[in-house]
């Protein structure tokens, strides 16, 4: 594992956390793609030797604290997401960018549905969860984030 790649990977994750926190004016406050999921996807696809299942613990815990969710909820969701990415790794690599975006849409949608079920089953909190908007925005942002992430991570290969 190259230390430079690890450093860049951590830098990208830090930036994703900054973007997740970024306050937006009311007119565009609906624009909240899953920045962390996007960066995790890039890292798992481009640098599988650096980013793997281990990411789910630190990232999941940080997301739990950030969103005041029960400790472990985002760890579980992140583990499912990374696990699915690793399963679909070869296919995703062969897909064109639109097919990749569609796959990411389905994965993020799946994560949101799981989040809702987990809240209902484990905590008994039937609070509604946004399903389509985060999935659609994440898929929409995927080509741009992938292009930037790919360029950055390939340059240091």
């Amino acid at each position: 594992m190259s230390m430079t790649r690890l450093f860049y990977a951590l830098g990208m994750l830090f930036l994703a956390f900054v973007l997740e926190h970024l306050p937006l004016p009311p007119i565009i406050d609906w624009f909240q793609p899953g920045w962390i999921l996007l960066v995790v996807t890039v890292l798992v696809l481009v640098t599988p030797e650096v980013a793997g299942m281990w990411l789910c613990i630190p990232l999941g815990l940080l997301l739990d604290i950030e969103y005041s969710a029960p400790l472990g909820l985002n760890v579980m969701l992140m583990a499912v997401y990374i696990g699915m990415l690793q399963l679909l790794y070869r296919r995703l690599y062969l897909f064109n960018i639109l097919q990749q975006a569609a796959t990411i849409f389905m994965l993020v949608l799946g994560v949101q549905v799981l989040r809702y079920w987990a809240m209902v089953v484990l905590i008994g909190d039937p609070r509604p969860v946004m399903l389509l908007t985060p999935a659609a925005l994440t898929a929409l942002m995927w080509p741009w984030v992938y292009a930037v992430g790919y360029v950055v991570l390939q340059r240091i290969r």
Partner: protein, 262 residues
């Protein structure tokens, strides 16, 4: 997840992880702070002088009111002594600023820039200049999450300032409306009545303005009236808030006494 929801063993872990989130939070909020700073710096001299005049006259009026309030407070204490009632002490407050608003449209929560290091605690009441805004639900070292009274998971015991009629005001998910539930059709509540916190339940201190009644509907055949109220606090605009440190505020009876056993 179960442990975190039902016990307090993981609270220190949660609190410690909060330290890791401080740098990205600070960096993310930097553009907002710069915009506020630029906005404040770019004000013209004339505008500042006008604002200064307005503030001076407002200060004068408020000082006048405070003088009257001091006399009333003494009188109130004397009357309480006559009635052998306990003396109500003045609340300690801490000023804080809103740093972020939760973008989830199904919750009405905000993040403030004071946390555990400033003595903030879960359940602490939060006010703005106009009334009660909500309560702290999660505390990190340098920030805290506040659930606003308009959240549909929130309810607050209130009473009508005019006649003392008690009710429960629940959030509707809309920042401009609270609903009063289980109010009988015969209750004396009118449009324009001010609702203040009653202090029942022990979570909020008594006597702070909560909302103003906007509509009262008495539907024949229904047991309860449909009453809507508008929060007096500026839930969508206030930037500066007050955290209240009252002796009894934010304290509720032990969980086993009020939690549903079924």
């Amino acid at each position: 997840m179960w442990l975190d929801q039902n016990t307090s063993y993981l609270k220190p872990v949660r609190y410690a992880i909060g330290y890791v989130l401080v740098p990205p939070q600070k960096i993310a909020l930097a553009p907002q702070s710069v915009i506020y700073w630029l906005g404040d710096s770019a004000s013209s001299r004339e505008k500042l002088m006008k604002q200064n005049d307005q503030l001076r006259s407002r200060n004068f009026i408020l000082e006048n009111k405070v003088q009257r309030l001091a006399a009333l407070e003494v009188e109130n204490m004397e009357l309480r002594k006559l009635l052998s009632a306990s003396t109500k002490v003045q609340d300690d407050v801490l000023i804080t600023s809103v740093t972020a608003v939760d973008p989830d449209p199904y919750t009405q929560q905000i993040i403030i820039d004071k946390g555990g290091s400033d003595g903030v605690f879960v359940g602490q009441p939060v006010l703005d200049a106009h009334g009660l805004l909500g309560q702290v639900i999660d505390v990190l070292p340098f920030s805290a999450r506040v659930l606003m009274i308009a959240d549909n998971n929130h309810a607050i015991p209130v009473q009508v300032n005019r006649n003392g009629v008690r009710a429960v005001a629940v959030g509707t998910g809309s920042l401009s409306q609270l609903d009063l539930i289980y109010v009988p059709n015969t209750a004396d509540i009118k449009v324009g009545d001010t609702l203040i916190s009653s202090g029942l339940g022990g979570r909020y201190p008594a006597g702070y303005p909560v909302a103003e009644v906007t509509t009262v509907e008495n539907i024949p055949g229904e047991s309860y009236a449909t009453i809507h109220a508008k929060p007096t606090a500026h839930l969508d605009r206030s930037r500066h808030l007050l955290l209240v440190f009252t002796h009894d505020a934010g304290r509720v009876p032990p969980v086993e006494l009020w939690q549903d056993k079924s």
